[in-house]
Symmetry: C2
Subunit: 387 residues, 2 copies
C-alpha cells in the first residue's frame, strides 16, 4: 500500500515516487497546508489544477474544531473536505507549542488550553495517533516535541529523548494499517544531538522520516548543515520530509541535499498578505508600484491568475481588500512552488541539478547567492557549472 | 449594436434577448454586483460557469479607486477585470447618498468626501457619464438622486424634477456610441409622482429604463404597486431594470409584473455572512444545525459547492472563518438566482409562469405566501392555478 521508489539521483538530490492508498506522489514535492482541512481559499479542483499531489492538515486545529469523531463520521478528511488525493496530518506537537495556552509538558504528554474556548486538553502520543486515525490521512506523524530556538543543550537533549519515548508509544498506539506513520527527528541544530536523534529514530524502521525542529528561527547557516547531516543518516530508501520549510531558496538547497517532501503555509500566507512569488523573490502588490503594470505576475506562469489578470488589476484587488486578490495570489504562489519542484524533478532526472540550482540562484539572488546557499549546494555535490 | 427583442410573454411577464457589444443576454436576468470590478470572491470563469451574463460595477467605488483613467488605460472594465462579457455601471448617484460623507446636493451635482481618504469630490451628470465612458461598460446609467425612504412628498417631487434635468444633461454628455444609456425613474412609492417621473423619463426615447428609488426600506406593500405602475407605463420594446432587488421572492413577483433586469449584492453578501439560498429561504451555516449534515446545500443544484461539499464541511468552513466557505456560499447563491431566472424564462416561454410562481411560493413561504406577493402575481395576470 505504501512504497517509495527513488528513480533517479544527481549528487545527493533524488527524485522518486511515493505510493499511497490515494495515489502516487512524485518527489521532491511541496505539500500545501490545509490547516483547518482547507488550503486557505482554494478548492480541491484548483489544487489539482496547480499540481498539488498531497495536502497537509493540522491535527491540533481539527481536534479543536470540528473534532476528529465528526470528521470520521463524515468519511475522514478525503470525503469530508472533498479532496480525494493523499493527505498528511501532523501530530499536533508543533501547534500545541506555538498556539496552546498554559501548556504543561510531562512524560505523559502535553496539557494545554484551547485557543478557541479555553478548554483544557491533553494530547499524548496515544491520543495524537487516535485523532490522526480518525482524521484518516494517508501519512500520519509521530507525536513529538518541537523545542524553540534557541534552547539550552540540556533541554534539547532531554526533549529529544522524550520524543524518542513518545515515538515508541506512537508506534504502539497505531491500529490502522492503511496509514503510514513517519517518525520525526529533533535535536535542534546541535549536530551531535541531531545525529543521536536520527540514529535512534531510524531504528524504528518506519516508512518515512521527518526532520523536525528546524525553520523555527535559527540562521540558515545552522539549519542547512543540520539538514545535510540528517540526509546522510536517513535511509536512502525512505522518504525524507523537512517540516515547515517553504521558501523557494530553501527548497532548492534542501532538494540538493536529498530532501523529498516539504510543507509550509508560506505560499498561501504571503499571498494573503498581498505578495506574489516570482523567480526574483516577491512582488509586493500592496504598494503602488505595479498599479499600471499590464503584465501578468510572471510572464511564463500557466496559473489561472497569470493567464487572466494583470499586475495592475491584482494590485487593485489587494489594495481594495478584495477576496479575489488574496485567492489569486495564493493560487499563483502554490503553483509557483509546484512548478519549481517539477523543474527540480526534471533536472534531477536529466542529471543537471547543479545547473538548475545555480540558474535559480542567479535570478533569485541577482547573481549574489548567500554563502549558506552555496555551501548547501556544494554539500549536495552540486558544484557551480563551469567550476 | 443594441437591440432588445421580447420573444415570449405570459401575462405581464416577458422573456427576451438584449443584444450588447459584448454578446446577448437572456432576460429576465439577475446581474451580480462587482462593486470594485470584482464580484466578491468569484473569478470571471466562475461567473460564466454559474450562468452570469452581465456584471454590474459601481462608478462611485471605481472613481475613488483605482480611478477611471487607469481603468481606461488598461482597456476598460472588460480587459481590466478579465470578464469579457457585458458590463453595466451605475451612475454613482445611489452610492454617493449611502456612502459619501458630508454630501451637498445642488443643481450642479453632488459634492461629497471620499469614504477612503476624505478627498472632496463633485459628481455631476457630466462627470458621471465621463467616468462611465472611461470604465467602458456596455450599459451605463443616467446620473440620478435616490431619495431615502421615507421622504417628504415635496422633497420627492423636487428631487425627481432635478433627476429629470440631470437625465437631460446625462444624455447630452454622452459621447460614446457603443454604450447604451438607461434612464432611471424616481418618485419613491408615491404613485402620482412615479407616474410623472416615468412619463417624463420615457420621453427621452432611451434604449432602456430603470425603476430607481425602490428597495430602500419601504414595505413590499408599497414597493410592488409602484413596480406594477412602472411596467404599465414603460415601453414594451425596451428593457426594464429594477435596481437593487435580489431577494428570490422579489424577483419572482417582479418578473411576473414584466421586469427584465435586476441587480443586488444580496447573494454574495448573504453568502459572506454564512447563509445559503435554498427554495425554502436560507440555511444559516453559522449555526451548529447542519454541522453533521452530509447533504449538499441543495439536492438538485449543479454548482461546484453542491457537487463537491456537504453542509457539514461548509458549516465547518464558515464557523472556522475560512475564505473557501464564504466563496462557496457566494458561488452557490449567485447560481441559485441564475437558475431561478432560467426557470422563469422557461416558464414564460411555455406559458406557465403562474404555475411556476405559485410552486415557488409554496416552498418559499411554506404554503402561506404573504398578501403582497399574491397581489403582485395577480397584478401580473398570474392567477393561482386551479382558481
Amino acid at each position: 500500500m505504501f512504497a517509495f521508489r527513488v528513480t533517479a539521483t544527481d549528487g545527493k538530490a533524488r527524485t522518486g515516487t511515493l505510493h499511497t492508498p490515494h495515489g502516487p506522489v512524485q518527489t521532491p514535492l511541496f505539500m500545501p497546508v490545509g490547516t483547518q482541512a482547507t488550503v486557505k481559499g482554494l478548492t480541491p479542483a484548483e489544487l489539482h489544477q496547480v499540481g498539488s499531489q498531497i495536502v497537509l492538515a493540522n491535527t491540533y486545529h481539527l481536534l479543536l474544531r470540528p473534532g476528529p469523531e465528526l470528521v470520521a463520521r463524515l468519511g475522514g478528511l478525503h470525503h469530508f473536505a472533498g479532496y480525494q488525493g493523499p493527505w498528511l496530518t501532523d501530530s499536533g506537537g508543533y501547534q500545541v507549542m506555538s498556539l496552546g495556552h498554559m501548556r504543561t509538558i510531562t512524560e505523559e504528554g502535553v496539557t494545554f488550553r484551547s485557543h478557541l474556548n479555553g478548554d483544557l486538553i491533553t494530547l499524548t502520543p496515544e491520543t495524537s495517533i487516535q485523532v490522526q486515525e480518525h482524521l484518516g490521512a494517508d501519512i500520519i506523524m509521530a507525536f513529538d516535541e518541537c523545542p524553540p530556538y534557541p534552547s539550552e543543550r540540556r533541554y534539547l537533549e532531554a526533549s529529544l529523548e522524550r520524543t524518542l519515548r513518545w515515538l515508541e508509544r506512537s508506534v504502539r498506539a497505531q491500529t490502522r494499517k492503511d496509514q503510514a506513520l513517519f517518525g520525526i527527528t529533533q535535536g535542534g541544530t546541535d549536530l551531535e544531538l541531531r545525529r543521536r536523534s536520527t540514529r535512534e529514530t531510524v531504528r524504528f524502521d518506519l516508512p518515512g522520516y521527518a526532520i523536525g525542529g528546524l525553520a523555527v528561527g535559527e540562521p540558515k547557516e545552522k539549519m542547512f548543515p543540520t539538514v545535510a547531516l540528517s540526509t546522510d543518516l536517513l535511509p536512502e530508501d525512505r522518504p525524507r520530509y523537512l517540516m515547515g520549510v517553504g521558501h523557494p531558496e530553501d527548497l532548492v538547497a534542501a532538494v540538493g541535499l536529498g530532501v523529498d517532501l516539504f510543507d509550509c503555509v508560506y505560499p498561501t500566507r504571503t499571498g494573503r498578505f498581498g505578495y506574489a512569488l516570482v523567480p526574483e523573490g516577491r512582488l509586493n502588490l500592496n504598494s503602488a508600484r505595479y498599479k499600471e503594470d499590464p503584465r501578468p505576475l510572471m510572464e511564463d506562469c500557466d496559473c489561472y491568475a497569470c493567464r487572466t489578470f494583470s499586475r495592475a488589476y491584482l494590485t487593485h484587488l489587494v489594495r481594495a481588500g478584495e477576496m479575489l486578490g488574496l485567492r489569486m495570489l495564493s493560487l499563483h504562489n502554490v503553483r509557483y512552488l509546484h512548478r519549481l519542484m517539477e523543474a527540480a524533478r526534471a533536472a534531477i532526472r536529466e542529471g543537471r541539478y547543479a545547473a538548475f540550482a545555480w540558474a535559480f540562484a542567479e535570478r533569485r539572488f541577482a547573481g549574489h547567492p548567500p554563502a549558506w546557499f552555496l555551501e548547501a549546494l556544494r554539500a549536495g555535490g552540486h558544484e557551480p557549472p563551469g567550476d
